[in-house]
């Protein structure tokens, strides 16, 4: 029973990791190549690219993973778990791969990097408030 449980856990975590991280890295690489082409063609627009709402898109997509939509579409069970974990890993792998490549081609200072992380955490705290406040603790419920 225990071995079966461990094997199932490994299957449900490693298969989505492989698929999600591979897809995320490949698509992230493609997006960075596209953005690099835009930067080369229009170098003046580089500064304005900081307003690209990729953080919001990633965070809201992560929230979509925790909404009941996947379970309603697929049903309860291993398939829903595989899809949830795979989608989650894909959404994390995409900006990580893109960030590594960006840092290689356009290195930034420590202050800029720290400010970027603070900006990511500010958007993620809103999403965490929704998941923790509504689903886990009920602190966000209207009085």
């Amino acid at each position: 029973m225990t071995f079966q449980y461990i094997a199932q856990h490994l299957l449900l975590s490693l298969v989505p990791w492989l698929v999600g991280s591979t897809l995320g890295c490949v698509i992230g690489y493609g997006i960075v190549l596209l953005i690099r082409t835009i930067f080369i063609g229009f170098p003046r627009h580089r500064g304005r690219m900081v307003f690209t709402p990729w953080r919001t898109i990633i965070m809201i997509s992560l929230l979509l993973v925790y909404s009941p939509l996947i379970v309603v579409w697929v049903g309860l069970g291993s398939t829903a778990t595989l899809q949830m974990v795979g989608f989650f890993v894909f959404l994390l792998a995409l900006p990580i791969a893109a960030g590594i490549l960006f840092e290689k081609w356009y290195p930034t200072s420590v202050v800029v990097r720290m400010a970027a992380v603070a900006r990511i955490l500010s958007t993620s705290s809103i999403v965490i408030t929704v998941t923790a406040g509504i689903y886990s603790t009920g602190g966000l419920a209207p009085s």
């Binding site: 500064g47 304005r48 900081v50 307003f51 709402p53 953080r55 919001t56 965070m59 809201i60 929230l63 979509l64 909404s67 009941p68 939509l69 379970v71 309603v72 049903g75 309860l76 930034t108 200072s109 202050v111 800029v112 400010a115 970027a116 603070a118 900006r119 500010s122 958007t123 809103i126 999403v127 929704v130």
Partner: protein
Amino acid sequence: MIEQMSLLEYKSVFSTLLIVAAITLMVDMLFGIPYFFLVRSKEEESLTRPMYQ
């Protein structure tokens, strides 16, 4: 068995997501303004820095 969601429940889920997306986007853009000026100042600093440093 999970019952199929009604149109009203779909609307409820998507309206919650839309509200959260709007708040997240607002905070993202709000923090984007000082970040933009920080990136610009650091870029100018790196361009004016002598090559030997």
